[in-house]
Symmetry: C2
Subunit: 129 residues, 2 copies
DNA sequence: CTTGACCTTCCAGTAACTGGAAGCCTTATG
DNA sequence: CATAAGGCTTCCAGTTACTGGAAGGTCAAG
């Protein structure tokens, strides 16, 4: 299977697939013409990567998860540890963003948003109240 | 005021302040020795930038906000528009992260996390259920 | 005069791609 | 058989917002 077909199948851009090869996440074969050739296994790996990335795992986390996935004897605890740490990161981000949202949403509501210059948003950013 | 004092006052790393000058957000004077010299106005601008960045505004948003802040005749509507768009972005991010959190937290709870190889997390990442 | 703390600039690296150029390879058509 | 379209290749540069570090000038204290 050529790269554009692999891209279609895995829903990953071809550019991203080439990048994943470049950083050693996958290792497709090459045909006589130099074209990459993707087997079912490669497609499976790419699908795995796409799913893990969609869950927000970093590429390096993905590398570890992929290695664990391919290790029939891995301990599920190793996987869980990575996922748990990632979950904690996500929860921290949500908390940070929620605080931003609360502040901003209050400011946006307070600001008249008209042609007059007085603006509580700028006032807040400039003074220390 | 030298850069390290400005850094202390604004809680921004000196590196970041130099970077802000490089990209034209601020324009401190220079002493005869080539050292940057920060006036109260510069400190005010830096404080403004620090607050806006802490609220998650991009540096380019900050550039616009700073310009509006310095324009006595600006319309508050211009500011509100930037803030509103940023707020929408934040809300989208929160929604995305919350979906990730729900999925991951379910997976982490389901995974035994012990020495056995069976792992629902990897199963989910590899199969399409 | 020397030491150490500051300051300067410049270069490189980070995360994870993305866009684009230059140039083969393949396939269909006239 | 020539050619044109489209797919493939590699390589280089750019993105965001810094951050680390090297090489070297400046300043204040002892």
């Amino acid at each position: 299977m050529n790269i554009s077909q692999a891209a279609k199948t895995t829903m990953l851009p071809a550019k991203t697939i080439r990048y994943y090869e470049e950083i050693g996440l996958i290792a497709p074969e090459r045909g006589a013409n130099g074209y990459r050739s993707f087997s079912d296994t490669h497609i499976h790996q790419l699908t795995f990567l796409a799913r893990a990335r969609a869950l927000g795992f970093s590429v390096e986390d993905c590398r570890s998860l992929l290695a664990l996935w391919e290790d029939r004897d891995r301990a599920s605890g190793d996987v869980r540890k990575i996922a748990q740490e990632h979950l904690t990161e996500i929860e921290t981000k949500i908390a940070d963003l929620s605080a931003m949202r609360d502040t901003l949403s209050h400011l946006v509501q307070t600001c008249a948003g008209d042609d007059r210059p007085d603006c509580p948003i700028l006032n807040t950013l400039s003074s220390s109240d």
